[in-house]
Symmetry: C2
Subunit: 350 residues, 2 copies
């Protein structure tokens, strides 16, 4: 009757219990279970039998502690599990790390820096072998400097950290956005609306907005503040689109800066029966090709983003001690129709 404060039920058998049943020492059981050499066949048999009979399961916590190794888990912090972009990222991470027998521990920060820090601390206390973080806007990651010094593989994903130099994997947000807007310009548009993420301080939002402005500037088009809107959820974007269409000289095209806003823009246009407004979105989504017209997007590969971060983690675990690096993954313009709608008023020839 050991005084173990378990959830209830019979206490779980330990190595010693197995040893006792098998009539050997704990060390021997350990040897057998770890396939160490120098064990006689009969002993081996007896130990295995005893373990099976008791339903023995090694305690990985105790093992890790003794071996001084960190846990065999990689922590991943994402802002929102229900957003398909982030769940694809998670899938990419999981597929990559499990080739090395590592597990995924997932936590959600709800896009809140305080909560992000709290879950990061929990993961670190659990001795995760590495940490991948999609940082929330407004955070400060200086507190992770020590961890890096202590050798923790730490990679930031989709957005760079604040006040800390660390490995980072991001999409080519600026280039992608610029190419999207240039695409619209090429189709004759000069009044191009922007519907961005929230908050406006978010890295991806800022970069994509830079790309938007750059493409306009390149085309000699002035940025009209009346054409700049935002909204994080679909419904916000629906409202934003309505506002855009109501300005005195409304846009003939809209660039939607992420998957959710793009869905909102598309919804708003579909509901109001406007099939003349061109749309290009950032980040692809299911059914973008089935809508009428198909939605032209700048696609980023979410799984690849996750896999790339995971590979970086593995390299660090393998002893790569080179300086922090930033990897930028190219985006790809996927032409489907909505981005090729011509501007209604033909551009006058030069």
């Amino acid at each position: 009757m050991t005084p173990r404060a378990r959830t209830g039920g019979v206490p779980r058998p330990t190595l010693h219990d197995v040893a006792q049943v098998a009539g050997v020492s704990a060390r021997t059981v350990s040897r057998v279970l770890n396939d160490e050499p120098g064990i006689s066949a009969p002993t081996r048999e007896r130990v295995l039998a005893a373990a099976a009979q008791l339903g023995f399961r090694p305690n990985a916590m105790a093992r890790n502690m003794r071996v001084g190794a960190r846990d065999s888990a990689v922590g991943l912090v994402i802002p929102d599990l229900a957003n398909p972009f982030f769940s694809s990222v998670a899938a990419g991470v999981e597929k990559t790390i499990r080739t090395r027998g590592l597990n995924l521990v997932l936590a959600s920060s709800e896009e809140d820096p305080a909560r992000e820090r709290s879950v990061v601390n929990v993961l670190l206390a659990r001795q995760v072998a590495a940490l991948i973080v999609v940082p929330s806007a407004g955070g400060d990651h200086g507190y992770l400097r020590d961890e890096r010094r202590h050798g923790l593989p730490l990679v930031f994903l989709d957005r760079p950290p604040a006040r800390l130099a660390a490995d980072t994997v991001v999409s080519a947000n600026f280039d992608g956005a610029a190419s999207a807007v240039a695409h619209l310009v090429r189709h004759g548009h000069r009044r191009i609306g922007f519907v961005g993420d929230v908050p406006a301080t978010l890295y991806t939002r800022r970069e994509r907005f830079r790309g938007y402005r750059h493409a306009l500037a390149t085309a000699g088009i002035a940025v009209d503040p009346a054409l700049i809107e935002q909204g994080h959820h679909q419904n916000d974007a629906v409202a934003a689109t309505a506002r855009l269409l109501a300005v005195p000289e409304p846009p003939t095209a809209i660039f939607a800066a992420n998957n959710l806003t793009c869905m909102g823009v598309v919804m708003a246009l579909a509901r109001s029966g406007r099939r003349d407004v061109a749309v290009v979105g950032f980040d692809d989504f299911t059914f973008a090709d089935l809508l009428q017209p198909g939605v032209t997007v700048v696609a980023q590969d979410a799984e690849l983003l996750g896999a790339t971060a995971a590979h970086l983690v593995l390299a660090r675990m393998d002893g790569d001690r080179t300086g922090a690096r930033t990897t930028v993954l190219a985006t790809r313009l996927v032409v489907r129709g909505s981005g090729e709608l011509p501007a209604p008023v033909p551009v006058p020839p030069r």
Copy 2:
């Protein structure tokens, strides 16, 4: 120079290191960090300062081991992280357990019973506080009987376990499917195709097929094997739909037994320009309401499914020792247009 086999870098400071710097014993540091009473203010200060200076982080593994508690994590095994249904389930679990300070450890089984068993073993070795499993078809969960005996809260989700009595949370698959098909019958259809999950042995597939047959039988319609198809991925369902439309007396309506197959069916119909075939799907999906026509579905609440399983886990952790129970969550028919297309040939009056 302690001989710790860390990933590299400086070894991490321990309680003793902090004690040494603060000039107190480890016990005192422990007291301060756990806010135990009986500590003088100055000592407290010094300890806190030392901990901060060293960047000390308590080792949760060591703590749990001593306290005899299990890990503060709940393990969740799902077949596929990239499937929005399962990521919503995960979101529901996460939101619920974090109200109790528990973390989510997620693993993917790839719908493979062998892999499922392997990841379950890894999670158990990690001493997860509880386990929620979406079991793959063809598995045998008898090996978990001991765990239940040892008091491990264990809940099966979306599908029941094989060869084991344990808590289970599922949707009303039979009822939902039957109501979907009855809905089509009500709109005059008598040639109703079925596009099911893969494998055909999958619990949800079997239940939904039972519902399909039941609804047909109730309407006095014989099941025509030529109208039964299947496909797990969208593309398979696209092909399945094409085959259905090619049979001598093709269906005027299709019941798609899950979200992916439904997307495939809708895609196939959209691409072939068939707007006359009615469709009802099982499980809702984004944009189902934006397509032309909107897709009528039997919606199940994936997040609620996850939350319900998590609540069951919490109850078990709180000491609920009653027998294994099965919870069935109702589905809801969401009418959007595709399921209300009338059968082209009017049904002759009786």
